[in-house]
Assembly symmetry: none
Homo-oligomer: 419 residues x 2
């Protein structure tokens, strides 16, 4: 057996200790290290305090082969990570011309002036390897000191993630002899965790010991993670694929994709493959479905556009919903949402028109229509499919679940109704 490679994750910042922000970085880093076979043995959070940070360095060095730290890298006086790393490794801090150039370019691109404080970002401990941060001003710092690997990253999540993905994870994989682990994610929508579990129970109980299953539920979706452990790539891949082939037929209609694909990406691919287009009329979802679809690069190939008709007048004017339908059935009704879906398809010359109308909450209930009542519809060349959702009293959750259900209605209309 190979030696287990261990890591400690160290988050630095008073704002974390005082609970003003959730530390999402440490969770994300844990997940990424797990995927490449590095065992996280401890996570520690300390404040912007000299003694606590130095003591954390010391404890981390004793506990792990790799120390990944985030935060405390701002240019202001309360940020201590950089000077304390220099102190801990007993080295000076000096200007790195390449880093200064990067900071200068970063500001120039944004048409902003470079201040003296900004320039300090380019001064780094002499024992570190400078790691460029392409999406921010605080550079990454990599050390191989005291028989341990150290990486310091900014606490801003997207900056940290880019440094991890582009530099740290590939570097760790070349530097250490890591066990071979292979994961695949099966992504499902339209079914809850316990129902899914009932459908695949027998298969799950028959899994061999070198293959593990985890349920990863999130709002409106459940991911199944299959993990195999072994000594070589071929073995672990085959072990996962074998189980995947067995579980697929049991839950086929709920699977929208595998691994990194998102529901909006999967739906986009379906449209692209068939050279079809879509438009949205989003009342209660308020533009969130359009946001999800347009978050995917290249979506203009299949997305025509959207209308958010937050007043009834606009539903009639831009989407052609008949005032008598609105008067008789109300805005939150199957009749209205069908006319919206049809209208937006016409107006945008799209193949599919998706509409939502509902009571997002937390207030606004009417007789027979409690908060969380939502109608969605999908108009397509051959007809229309609709669905009534009974959601929660939480506005944010309702908007999110409406969007997922609408995207899933589009998906199933494309794959089941039209084929």
């Amino acid at each position: 057996m190979k030696k287990t490679v261990t890591a400690e994750i160290l988050a630095i910042g008073d704002e974390l200790l005082y609970g003003q922000i959730q530390d999402t970085n440490s969770l994300w880093i844990s997940q990424e290290l797990d995927k490449i076979g590095v065992r996280v043995v401890r996570r520690t959070t300390v404040g912007d305090n000299r003694d606590d940070i130095l003591q954390a360095f010391d404890a981390a060095e004793k506990a792990a082969d790799i120390v990944l730290m985030t935060g405390g890298l701002g240019p202001t006086a309360d940020d201590l990570t950089k000077p304390l790393l220099a102190e801990y490794f007993n080295c000076a801090i000096s200007l790195v011309p390449e880093a200064l150039e990067a900071v200068r370019t970063f500001f120039e691109r944004r048409g902003r002036e470079l201040t003296e404080t900004n320039k300090l970002q380019a001064h780094l401990p002499t024992k570190c390897t400078y790691v460029p941060n392409e999406v921010g001003t605080a550079p990454g710092m990599w050390f191989e000191e005291r028989n341990t690997v150290w990486m310091s990253m900014p606490g801003v999540p997207h900056e940290m993630k880019k440094l991890m993905s582009d530099f740290v994870l590939p570097k760790l994989q070349t530097l250490f002899d890591l066990p071979v682990i292979f994961h695949r994610l099966v992504k499902t929508v339209g079914i809850g965790e316990s129902w899914l579990s009932d459908l695949i129970k027998e298969w799950e109980e028959a899994l061999p010991p070198h293959v593990r299953l985890a349920y990863l539920p999130s709002l409106g979706e459940v991911k199944l993670r299959l993990t195999a452990f072994g000594d070589n790539e071929e073995f672990v891949r085959a072990a996962v694929e074998e189980q995947l082939a067995k579980v697929k037929p049991l839950i086929a209609k709920y699977i929208y994709g595998y691994d990194k694909i998102s529901l909006q990406e999967a739906v986009g691919q379906l449209l692209k493959e068939r050279r079809k287009t879509v438009a949205f009329a989003e009342s209660c979802s308020g533009g969130y479905i359009a946001h999800l679809i347009t978050s995917i690069a290249g979506s203009s190939a299949y997305f025509q556009g959207a209308v958010v008709p937050y007043q009834n007048e606009i539903k009639s004017k831009l989407l052609g919903v008949s005032p008598s339908t609105l008067g008789t059935h109300g805005a939150v009704s199957e009749e209205t949402v069908i006319e919206m879906a049809y209208g937006v398809r016409e107006q945008f010359h799209a193949d599919f028109g998706i509409a939502s109308s509902g009571i997002a909450g937390p207030s606004g209930e009417t007789t027979g229509k409690p908060v969380g009542t939502v109608w969605i519809a999908c108009s397509y060349p051959g007809g229309v499919t609709t669905k009534l959702l009974q959601l929660t009293t939480d506005r944010t959750i309702n908007i999110h679940l409406t969007a997922i259900s609408a995207l899933n209605l589009l998906r199933t209309t494309i794959t089941d109704v039209m084929e």
Copy 2:
């Protein structure tokens, strides 16, 4: 000055280290301790591993007056917290009849059978005070040992929260002479951390020792946190408000609100107070501004609706953008975005029309317009304001920053241009 009472929060469980679940407990405990004036000095997460847990006990005892721990209390063999607490405090584990009675009642109420494994939950270290868990089966355990207060709680969030609220927090307040702490957040937009720091440098350097400042940057925004420590509520409130009154005039035009308010909420309030309405024409922001605005309950009072015109044809048809403007200047131009802003205001009968058009990326650059080039405009009864943004090559970041800049353009147009 009172002695600062310190706490360490210790989360125990493999599932946390491997990133399978987010540790929301530690954040919540941090916030509650902060409110009662206990200073959290460290948070640590360790796995279900004997040596790591014992070492964490040892380190916590050295670091803090209070150690609050969650997890590792299940009745199965991989849960180690209870036996290790007994080992650490050098005492036996024995049956607590009162605890057995509670477990029995818990199962009876749910019509479930009490197994031998369940009964083990009622066996506790002899040195602990048994703390009943009314909503679960793993009891709380309170120790006052080695000049430190220790509380072990289950990892299930609602069980932990009930034990904290009903028992731990009141108990800590009677046991320790706690200082009073008061925080306020100043929320700014449209200025980076280092420029903000330059503007308030002199004020920051003159802060009295009982008031602390922290910069909390996030994508497109910077929050300033002012914290005062003292003996009574009146003193700390006055100390924070005094500094707030001094810093406000230095950065007034960047402040959109205080404490919990979000930018979209602040902009919504401005519109509501003035009985004005807004509509959006979102090309590169793809519906995200509408999503942010509609995430606020009651937004239908000031939000008329939005169009996401993802094809040029729609920009002309629904927003009245002249095809010759599109032909001469292109979709990403000041001329086009002005016509979009004007058109959406007309179409939706709104007081303000906000428009965005840009190259969100990661590809799509044209001559003179690199990825990240974005034009935004705000049309209002008396004219139009515009802004050119030079953002990044990351699509998600560009969409987010465009939305924040557009909301800020609306804010400043309302407050500066119109008044």
